[in-house]
C-alpha cells in the first residue's frame, strides 16, 4: 500500500478502537450523566472537563455513556441488517428463477422508499421507543442496499465453474450458498457491515435530534436534542454541542477509512485487475542511438 493509504488505515483503526473502548469501559470512569448536581451552564473546568448543561449535568459523562448508547444501537442495527442482506441477497442470486424475481422486487421496493421519512414515521408511532426498537427500525430500512450489492457479487460467483461443479457433484443449494459462495463474500460483507454502521449512526443521531426514540436514553444524538431544545446553539455553549457532533463525525470518518481499505481487499480477491500504473518507460542509458536523432531535432524524453 502507498504510505498515505497506510496512514489512513491506521487513523481509522485508531479512532475506531478509541470509540469502542470509550463505549465499553468509559462509563465506569465517569459519573451519572443524569445527575444534576453541577453548576448550571458552566464551561469546561477542573471538575467538569467538558462543562455542564443547563440543568447541571456533566457533559463528559453524557458523552461517554452516550458513546455506549450510540454504538450499541448501531451495532445491533448493522448486525440485523447484514443478516437480512445476506439472507435475501445471496439466496436470491443462487436460487435464481422465480425466487430471484420475487426477492429482487422486494429489495428494490424497500430501496426506493425514502428512508429517513419512513424511519421518522415508524419511530414516531412508537413513543419513547427503546434502543432495540430504534435499531430494528434502522435495520429494516438499511438492509436493502447491501442486499443488492451482495446479490450482484453472488450472481457473478454463481456463474463460476466451481459452483456448477458443486451442483454436478450433487450438492444442494443451501450448502452451495453457505460453503461455496459465502466464503468468497466475507470481505464484501465486512465492508457492507461497516457501511450500515455508518448509516445507522447518522440515522440514529438524526432521529434522536428530532426527538424520536427515547430521549432519556443517553446517546450522542440525544445530547444534541437536549442542547438544541435548551438553546445551547444560540447561547454559544459550545462545550455542550460540539463534543457529541465531533464524536459522530469522527466515528463516521473512522468507518469510511476502514471501509475503503476493506474494499480494496475485497476487490483484489474477487476481481483480477491489470496493473493500473501508467506505462512508464525508463530511459535507456547512453549508447549509440545511431541515426535516430536525425529523425528528430534532439528532444528530451521524459524519464
Amino acid at each position: 500500500m502507498k504510505p498515505n493509504r497506510r496512514w489512513s488505515v491506521r487513523i481509522g483503526v485508531g479512532l475506531l478502537v478509541f470509540f469502542v473502548l470509550m463505549a465499553i469501559a468509559g462509563p465506569w470512569f465517569v459519573g451519572n450523566p443524569s445527575a444534576t448536581d453541577g453548576p448550571l451552564h458552566a464551561g469546561p473546568s477542573g471538575g467538569h472537563l467538558l462543562g455542564t448543561t443547563n440543568i447541571g449535568q456533566d457533559v463528559l459523562s453524557q458523552l461517554v455513556v452516550g458513546a455506549r448508547g450510540s454504538l450499541v444501537v448501531c451495532t445491533i442495527a448493522a448486525a440485523i441488517a447484514t443478516v437480512l442482506a445476506i439472507a435475501v441477497g445471496v439466496t436470491s442470486a443462487v436460487l435464481g428463477g422465480v425466487w430471484d424475481e420475487v426477492l429482487s422486487l422486494f429489495t428494490n421496493a424497500m430501496l426506493v422508499i425514502p428512508t429517513l421519512p419512513l424511519v421518522v414515521v415508524i419511530a414516531g408511532y412508537m413513543k419513547n421507543a427503546g434502543a432495540v426498537v430504534v435499531a430494528i427500525v434502522i435495520a429494516a430500512t438499511g438492509w436493502s442496499w447491501s442486499a443488492r450489492i451482495l446479490r450482484a457479487q453472488a450472481l457473478s460467483l454463481r456463474r463460476r465453474d466451481f459452483v456448477l461443479a458443486a451442483r454436478a457433484s450433487g450438492e444442494g443449494s443451501f450448502r452451495i450458498v453457505t460453503f461455496e459462495v459465502l466464503p468468497h463474500l466475507v470481505p464484501l460483507i465486512a465492508a457492507q457491515f461497516l457501511g450500515v454502521v455508518l448509516y445507522a449512526i447518522m440515522t440514529q443521531a438524526g432521529l434522536a435530534f428530532l426527538g424520536i426514540g427515547s430521549v432519556t436514553d443517553w446517546t450522542w444524538g440525544t445530547m444534541l436534542y437536549w442542547a438544541n431544545s435548551s438553546q445551547a446553539f444560540q447561547l454559544a455553549q459550545w462545550w455542550w454541542y460540539v463534543p457529541p457532533g465531533l464524536c459522530i463525525a469522527l466515528f463516521g470518518t473512522a468507518l469510511v477509512l476502514l471501509n475503503s481499505a476493506i474494499d480494496r481487499v475485497a476487490d483484489n480477491r474477487l476481481v483480477e485487475r491489470a496493473p493500473r500504473r501508467p506505462m512508464l518507460l525508463r530511459r535507456r542509458g547512453a549508447g549509440p542511438v545511431g541515426a535516430a536523432d536525425a529523425l528528430v531535432a534532439g528532444e528530451e524524453v521524459p524519464a
Partner: protein, 370 residues
C-alpha cells in the same frame, strides 16, 4: 548483412547474425535482450539474454508455453512494456530496407529501437513496425465505426492525405484482407470475431510496414477462420513482402506457416532453426517433447507422451538448463551450467542454433511425426 552500408551501432562481434538460417538482409536484430519483472535479487528474468534476427520478408515463428517469455519479448521489441517489466539489457537494432521512409533519414545506418525518443518512436511505430496483439479484436473502439478507426490511423501518420483519399485507402485495405468495403460503416459489435481480427490486420497494414509483430492472432478464433486468416496473411506477404513475427503456443501452426522457428523456454531461447529442420530433426529435447504433444491427423494412432511436469515458475529457477528437471537426457552438467546457444556440433554450417549440452539431433522425432 544490412541493406546498404554499415550500421553505426554494434553488429555481433563475430560478424555472424544470430538467429535462424534465413537468407537475405537482416531487418530486425535482437541482441542479448533481457527483460526483468521487479528489481534487485528478487527480480525475475522474463526474457533472458535472447538474440534473434528477422530478415526482410521472413516469417519468424516464436513458440513457447506459459512463462516462456515470448509475449514479453514481443512487447519489449515494440516498446509496449508496462511496469513492472523493464528492459535491463541488450539492444534491438532495426535496419530499414532501402525502400522504406526510414532509410532515407538514417542514411543507411541502423536504428536502435530501445533508445528512440518519443517522437522518433511514433514515427517508427506503425510505419516500420506494426503490432497485432492477442485479442486484438477487442482492441477496437466499440463506439467508433471501422471507417473512423482506419482513417484515424492514416490521419495520424500521413497528415497530408485528404479525407476522400483516406476513405478510399481504408476501403482498399479492407478489401486486401478479405472484408467487403461496405462494412466500413459497421461498428465492432456488428462484426464477427474473424472480421474484427481481419480489421486489425488491415490497420496494421495501413502504412505498409516492414515488419508486423503478431501475438497469438488466431487463438481466440475457430479453426476454420484461423485457416482463412493464415492463408490471407500468406498471400499478403507475397504481395507486399513484409516480414512477420508470429507468436503462438501452437507449434503445429508454425510448422506450416513460418520460415524460421524459435522455441523459447523459461525466458531463454532453446532452439532456433528453419521450420523444416525443426520438424524433421529437432535438436533440443524440449522441441522434441513439444512436437510429440500434438496428435497427428493421419498415420498410426500411437500413444504420445507429451512432456512430464509443467513449465517452471520463473521465480527461483535452478542453476543450469531450465529444462533439466523435465528432461530425460539430463546429466549433472545440465543442472550446473546453463548451456550456450550455439550451432549443433553435428551441423555447424546450417545456421541453426540450439542450447543444449548434449547437442542431440534425435531421430525419434521423425518416427513420431510420420
Amino acid at each position: 548483412m544490412t541493406a546498404g552500408g554499415m550500421s553505426t551501432g554494434g553488429m555481433t562481434a563475430d560478424g555472424m547474425s544470430t538467429g535462424g538460417p534465413g537468407q537475405g538482409p537482416a531487418l530486425l536484430e535482437i541482441k542479448d535482450l533481457t527483460v526483468d519483472y521487479g528489481v534487485g535479487p528478487g527480480a525475475v528474468h522474463a526474457v533472458d539474454r535472447v538474440s534473434l534476427t528477422i530478415r526482410q520478408g521472413e516469417a519468424v515463428g516464436l513458440a513457447g508455453e506459459s512463462g516462456s517469455g515470448k509475449s514479453t519479448l514481443a512487447h519489449a521489441v515494440t516498446r509496449l512494456l508496462r511496469d513492472p517489466a523493464r528492459v535491463t539489457g541488450g539492444e534491438v537494432w532495426y535496419h530499414p530496407p532501402a525502400a522504406s521512409p526510414a532509410a532515407a533519414v538514417t542514411a543507411g545506418g541502423g536504428i536502435e529501437v530501445l533508445g528512440l525518443n518519443k517522437r522518433a518512436l511514433r514515427k517508427f511505430r506503425w510505419q516500420e513496425v506494426a503490432v497485432v496483439l492477442q485479442s486484438a479484436m477487442n482492441a477496437l473502439n466499440p463506439v467508433l465505426s471501422l471507417r473512423a478507426q482506419l482513417t484515424d490511423v492514416l490521419r495520424e501518420h500521413q497528415p497530408e492525405m485528404r479525407r476522400p483519399q483516406r476513405t478510399a485507402r481504408a476501403a482498399e485495405l479492407l478489401e486486401t484482407v478479405g472484408v467487403s468495403p461496405d462494412r466500413l460503416n459497421s461498428y465492432p459489435h456488428e462484426l464477427s470475431g474473424g472480421m474484427r481480427q481481419r480489421a486489425m490486420i488491415a490497420m496494421a497494414l495501413a502504412l505498409r510496414p516492414q515488419l508486423i509483430v503478431m501475438d497469438e492472432p488466431t487463438t481466440a478464433l475457430d479453426v476454420v477462420t484461423q485457416r482463412q486468416i493464415l492463408d490471407e496473411l500468406a498471400s499478403l506477404r507475397e504481395q507486399f513482402g513484409f516480414a512477420m513475427m508470429f507468436i503462438t503456443h501452437d507449434l503445429s501452426l508454425l510448422l506450416e506457416t513460418a520460415d524460421t522457428i524459435a522455441v523459447m523456454y523459461a525466458g531463454r531461447l532453446a532452439e532456433c532453426a528453419g521450420a523444416e529442420q525443426i520438424y524433421r530433426s529437432p535438436a533440443h529435447p524440449y522441441t522434441v517433447g513439444l512436437l510429440r504433444s500434438f496428435p497427428p491427423l493421419s498415420g498410426p494412432r500411437l500413444e504420445l507422451a507429451g512432456i512430464p511436469g509443467s513449465p517452471p515458475s520463473l521465480r527461483g529457477l535452478p542453476p543450469g538448463c531450465p529444462f533439466a528437471p523435465r528432461c530425460q537426457h539430463a546429466t549433472e552438467v545440465c543442472t550446473q551450467t546453463a548451456p550456450p546457444l550455439a550451432p549443433p556440433a553435428a551441423d555447424e554450417a546450417s545456421g541453426r542454433l540450439v542450447a543444449c549440452h548434449h547437442d542431440r539431433i534425435t531421430a525419434d522425432a521423425t518416427e513420431a511425426a510420420s
